[in-house]
């Protein structure tokens, strides 16, 4: 049964939303596959190497990038490092608590990270300062400031935007500052299943109504780079295939809209 | 060699030709009946059940169970009945004249009671009572346990199995619906009875168990 921080999602809202869905409409008037309008403000925090404040509907997240020199991992001596972290700030929702990362924030961070990593957005080979000894470490920290559903897509949008605006402080290592080399643009599209319908970019109420969630991250070539199913419901293989198609189509639209 | 009853897994279809589907069976999204458990198919006059091989006791109102006192409160005893949830015994539901704060002298931590499930709500909170014939604090004897789903096999049709074991081993036996069993007699007889019970438990899924147990117990008593 869906519930929010303060109790159960009201029965009135539940039946309103499900009735609308049968007509192919959303509670807020959107079509089933429509994303909420996103506002992306890059360089929001100039002190960071790169940053982006993203509002996706009423969900608001802030991604900041810091790039520092450090040691590479022993098993990848000739490659820079990317690390992604998500923090659910207590200001974002009544039940979010300060403290170490929990399974929700870890899952979001890892799905966002996977999309960026597997799309080869960042050429980590180009982040080597001294092979085997010193490389650039790219820290992506994402703060959740206001929560109204679909954190994974909001965080991917923010992380990708921040990385695209980031520069490497190479002057600290005797070189010249330069933009972070980025290539592919991964776009994640998250859907929830409500009844038998797949609904893109769910808001909080839709997330609570959904039985299962799936995220598919694609690149411009239409290839799948990351996937993640969540929640206790299930999907048929056909629904997953449909979700992949929706993601690659919607992803192309979003890529064009926000990154060209 | 014994014949075994049909074993099913969760999700296996249960043919309606076997009888009216009852316990341990659910209707899937296609409207077909399926097993909820890893267990055996048990047919009887009322219909067909799937009986799991193991599992916790699920309380039902009116069941007589054996429970162990876990704590002593001012007016209540929380009691472990081999279930997902502990149950409660209130001092007013005992035959004793007690006053609040002074109930420990009647039942202490670790004591066993033979009690009846009196009430049960939808979030599985339950209360037991000692106010009925035969219900009491259990003293002396010994306690053994089996998985609750196998209790009907230990009891047998109309008590046939447990009575057979009682007679053959010269013991008094109280079987709780929750799988706890109290046995009283000489230590040798109690051990004999426990051995017999454990055979029934291990072969609960076989056909013709009563006959085999009869033979087993007869041979034992000759020795």
């Amino acid at each position: 049964m869906p519930r929010d921080a303060l109790g159960v999602l009201s029965e009135i809202k539940r039946s309103f939303i499900t009735k609308q869905l049968k007509e192919g409409k959303r509670g807020d008037g959107r079509g089933l596959l429509d994303f909420r309008e996103a506002t992306i403000t890059t360089n929001y925090v100039p002190r960071a190497a790169g940053s982006a404040m993203v509002k996706l509907g009423r969900t608001r997240v802030l991604a900041g990038v810091k790039i520092e020199s450090g040691e590479p991992f022993p098993d990848t001596p000739n490659s820079g490092v990317l690390t992604t972290n998500v923090e659910l700030l207590p200001m974002a929702f009544p039940t979010f608590e300060a403290g170490p990362p929990n399974e929700t924030s870890i899952e979001i961070a890892r799905v966002v990270d996977r999309g960026i990593r597997e799309s080869k957005m960042i050429d980590t080979q180009k982040l080597v300062i001294e092979p085997g000894k010193k490389v650039w470490i790219v820290f992506v920290d994402i703060n959740i400031m206001d929560f109204d559903g679909n954190l994974i897509d909001a965080c991917t949008l923010a992380a990708v935007s921040a990385l695209r605006s980031a520069f490497i402080p190479a002057s600290k290592e005797g070189g010249k500052d330069m933009p972070l080399p980025v290539d592919q643009i991964p776009v994640s599209v998250t859907m929830v299943k409500i009844g038998d319908e797949l609904v893109c970019d769910p808001d909080l109420e839709e997330e609570q109504l959904g039985s299962a969630r799936v995220t598919v991250t694609t690149t411009e070539d239409g290839h799948i780079r990351a996937m993640q199913k969540g929640d206790t419901g299930n999907f048929t293989l056909e629904e997953i295939k449909k979700a992949i198609k929706i993601s690659s189509d919607t992803g192309a639209t979003l890529r064009k809209k926000y990154f060209s | 060699m014994a014949e075994i009853k049909q074993i099913v897994m969760p999700g296996d279809l249960i043919s309606e030709e076997l009888g009216k589907p009852r316990n341990g069976v659910y209707k899937n999204s296609d409207g077909r009946y399926c097993s909820s458990y890893f267990g055996i198919i048990q047919k009887n006059d009322q219909g067909v059940d799937v009986v799991p091989f193991s599992g916790k006791y699920i309380p039902r109102r009116g069941d007589k169970v054996i429970g162990k006192v876990l704590e002593v409160g001012p007016s209540m005893w929380p009691v472990d009945i081999n279930s997902t949830y502990n149950t409660l015994l209130h001092m007013n539901d005992t035959p004793w004249r007690t006053t609040s704060g002074d109930i420990k002298r009647f039942l202490g931590v670790g004591d066993y009671v033979y009690a009846k499930i009196m009430t049960l709500n939808e979030i599985k909170e339950s209360w037991i009572t000692l106010k009925d014939v035969g219900l009491r604090k259990l003293e002396g004897g010994h306690i053994t346990s089996i998985p609750a789903p196998k209790v009907p096999r230990i009891i047998g049709k109309g008590g046939s199995m447990v009575n057979m074991i009682k007679d053959a081993t010269n013991t008094r036996i109280v079987v709780g619906q929750n799988g706890l069993i109290w046995i009283d007699g000489t230590p040798e007889d109690v051990i004999e009875a426990i051995a017999a019970i454990s055979i029934v438990e291990q072969e609960a899924h076989t056909v013709g168990l009563t006959d085999r147990m009869e033979k087993y117990l007869k041979e034992r008593s000759v020795k």
Binding site: R225, N234 | D12, S54, P149
Partner: protein, 246 residues
């Protein structure tokens, strides 16, 4: 996904390093009820994976604020032993195991009739003693057996398999080398009969056609693995394993 390597993962005829065909599973063996204390348990060997699963419950959920008044909460804990991998792993939960624990808990919740046990929790401890690629799926497949053996009601069994891409070819059930140096990894777990997907993750690079091929391979393989689950559970109740009263 994996880093570049010089190892050739497929030979000219498409055979794999360990001699398997692209659609061949590694050997799988499951045993049940090895642990005395747990309410249900299972042990799985899948290739070089050695994983023990113990189930406790349903029991009342503690601390109390974790209780759900309407259903049982499934708490899987996936844990890798420090010695389970080549380089010693620091003991305790890391981010990867927290994520895996979450998706496994959710997958099991899809199958277990959690609504029968308000306020309760079902603990599923998955201990990876030796890891050899595909541990989350092997652990989940064994966990389903352990839950069934605990007598917990389920709508269906959960069974899974992985597929991936190595050297541009889609193959079933990645080995450790294929996992390390391959181009994609796709673990899927389904409800055994309905084939509804309860766990899916993917990382790497797959085209839509490659996804179709990989998912089809997995679906086919789950039938075989489900049979292994069934045999593991039923064998100890088979005719050979009961005496006739003596």
């Amino acid at each position: 996904m994996g880093s570049e390597s010089n190892i050739k993962l497929l030979d000219e005829s498409g055979m794999r390093l360990d001699g398997r065909t692209p659609e061949q599973l590694r050997p799988i063996k499951i045993e049940t009820n090895l642990l005395e204390r747990a309410d249900g348990s299972a042990y799985i060997e899948w290739g070089g994976n050695k994983i023990m699963v113990a189930v406790y419950g349903p029991r009342e959920a503690y601390p109390k604020h974790t209780q759900d008044i309407e259903k049982a909460v499934v708490k899987a804990r996936y844990n890798m032993a420090a010695f389970s991998v080549d380089e010693r792993k620091r003991p305790g939960p890391d981010r990867r195991s927290v994520e895996i624990s979450k998706v496994i808990s959710e997958a099991l919740s899809s199958a277990i009739m959690v609504e029968q046990f308000p306020r309760a929790q079902i603990d599923v401890f998955i201990e990876v003693m030796q890891a050899d690629a595909g541990t989350r799926i092997a652990g989940l497949t064994a966990a389903s057996v352990a839950v069934a053996s605990a007598g917990i009601p389920m709508r269906d069994m959960v069974v899974g398999c992985t597929a991936g891409k190595v050297e541009g070819k889609v193959v079933l059930d990645l080995s450790k080398e294929e996992d390390n140096f391959g181009q994609a990894d796709l673990p899927i777990a389904v409800l055994s009969k309905s084939k509804k997907i309860v766990l899916i993750q993917m990382d790497g690079d797959l085209s839509l056609e490659e996804f179709d091929q990989a998912s089809e391979m997995i679906m086919k393989a789950t039938d075989n693995i489900a049979e292994i689950q069934r045999n593991a559970l039923t064998s100890r109740y088979s005719v050979e394993n009961i005496g006739d009263g003596e």
